[in-house]
């Protein structure tokens, strides 16, 4: 069964910077607390992970790169792009950005 994270409801509507030491709601914190556990569940269940970005104040590039690029660097999972689906109707460009962060990190494995 498909798993879903609605970031603005399940985590925060005010995402922060890259690292935990830099302040609250960082990309690193989101990856550790939310993204990685759900991603591992999805891998285990052979299901999809849908991440909805709409509804919040916005996302800094460093937050997204650390969350998604960091996920690849941590799990070394080259199939992540098949597992993760991003929904971002309010800022469609974020889908491209995240795709690039994932591809860049996979390319460096």
């Amino acid at each position: 069964m498909e798993k879903t994270i609605v970031v603005s409801k399940d985590y925060t509507d005010k995402p922060g910077g890259r690292y935990i030491v830099e302040g609250p709601f960082s990309g690193e914190d989101f990856r550790i607390k939310m993204l990685l556990p759900k991603f591992e569940e999805a891998v285990k269940d052979d299901s999809k992970l849908v991440i909805v970005l709409d509804g919040g104040y916005g996302y800094a590039p460093s937050f997204l790169e650390e969350a998604f690029g960091g996920l690849i660097r941590e799990t070394k999972n080259k199939r992540a792009k098949e597992i993760i689906t991003i929904i971002s109707d309010e800022e469609p460009k974020l889908i491209e950005d995240i795709d690039r962060y994932l591809s860049d990190a996979i390319g460096k494995l």
Partner: protein, 318 residues
């Protein structure tokens, strides 16, 4: 022999006592220029701040520096923000308990700018200060990437534009990225200032103006401490403006040397090219880079430097 040594010690102690006594009395007076504005009078204003920093660097423990602001007739918030940053962030002021006193501009308009932008949040005043509630976010400072405050700025913009937060998402990205840059890139143990960010925003009829300052190393100095290519460029005499414009275009590596880092400035430059943003400029080190109406970067080099990085831009309401 022993008496000789005792005499020498006594003379040395007496000299030290006298010099401390004298320096306590000595007041180092710094007269601000008539136009204190990085925007309108950058050369004289940067020269004034160079004098401020040089003076503080030479002031001994418990010394007194007097900021004579009485002659100021024109002042802009960028300069007031940098003045606050020098008072609050120069490590020597805290470490050596240097006392900073000052007066206010005689010119009423200039005095009002000091009052309305929040200057008196950062200094003690012996005069009555009007508690103005203007159409602005008073100068605020912080250290971390603060999503709560970034959200407050977006709420301020939405309130004055009748926008929903969907329209301020790029602004939110920009503010968080700038705050993150302050914590990630801008700090060096040898820098004379502690690293902080400062933000100011003001609403007008046709736009909302923003000023963002971080008091870290600044873009040119950060680049100079990087790899071989940058060091070669540096020794070839490439000026600060070229470093800043290259950093904006994403032509230089991140200070962290990690390829996935350092995307902040190019991202911000791309945002600055949108139709909503005008008069975007970055001042850092000896350089100012301004994005003109054709989205080209116009470079200027100054004789004196701004320690840290200051960005300003206007967010159009139409």
């Amino acid at each position: 022999m022993r008496r000789n040594k005792q005499n020498k010690d006594h003379r040395r102690k007496s000299r030290v006592r006298n010099s401390v006594h004298n320096t306590k009395k000595a007041v180092r007076k710094l007269v601000a220029p008539q136009s204190l504005s990085l925007q309108k009078n950058p050369e004289s204003t940067l020269h004034y701040f160079k004098m401020v920093i040089d003076t503080i660097e030479k002031t001994p423990m418990n010394g007194l520096v007097f900021f004579d602001l009485s002659n100021i007739e024109t002042v802009t918030v960028d300069a007031i923000m940098y003045l606050i940053a020098t008072l609050k962030n120069i490590k020597r002021i805290t470490t050596l308990r240097i006392r900073c006193h000052g007066n206010v501009p005689l010119n009423a308009n200039a005095r009002e700018v000091f009052e309305s932008c929040g200057f008196y949040k950062y200094v003690k005043a012996n005069i009555p200060v009007k508690n103005t509630i203007g159409d602005n976010i008073k100068i605020t400072r912080g250290k971390d990437a603060n999503p709560y405050f970034a959200g407050d700025i977006c709420d301020f913009v939405c309130r004055h534009n009748d926008w929903s937060i969907i329209k301020t998402k790029s602004l939110y990205r920009m503010i968080i990225e700038l705050m993150t840059n302050t914590t990630q890139h801008a700090y060096n143990k040898t820098s004379i200032m502690d690293s902080n960010w400062y933000v100011f925003a003001e609403n007008t009829d046709s736009y909302i103006s923003f000023i963002f300052l971080d008091t870290g190393e600044g873009i040119p100095n950060t680049i100079r401490t990087k790899g071989l290519l940058e060091k070669i460029k540096s020794t070839l005499g490439i000026n600060d403006a070229l470093f800043v414009s290259s950093a904006l275009r994403g032509e230089l590596r991140s200070a962290t040397k990690l390829e996935y880092r350092g995307k902040g400035l190019p991202e911000i430059y791309n945002r600055a090219k949108s139709k909503y943003i005008t008069d975007f400029s970055v001042t850092s080190g000896h350089a100012k880079c301004m994005v003109n109406e054709n989205d080209e970067i116009v470079e200027t080099n100054y004789s004196d430097e701004l320690i840290g990085t200051m960005l300003s831009w206007k967010l159009n309401k139409d």
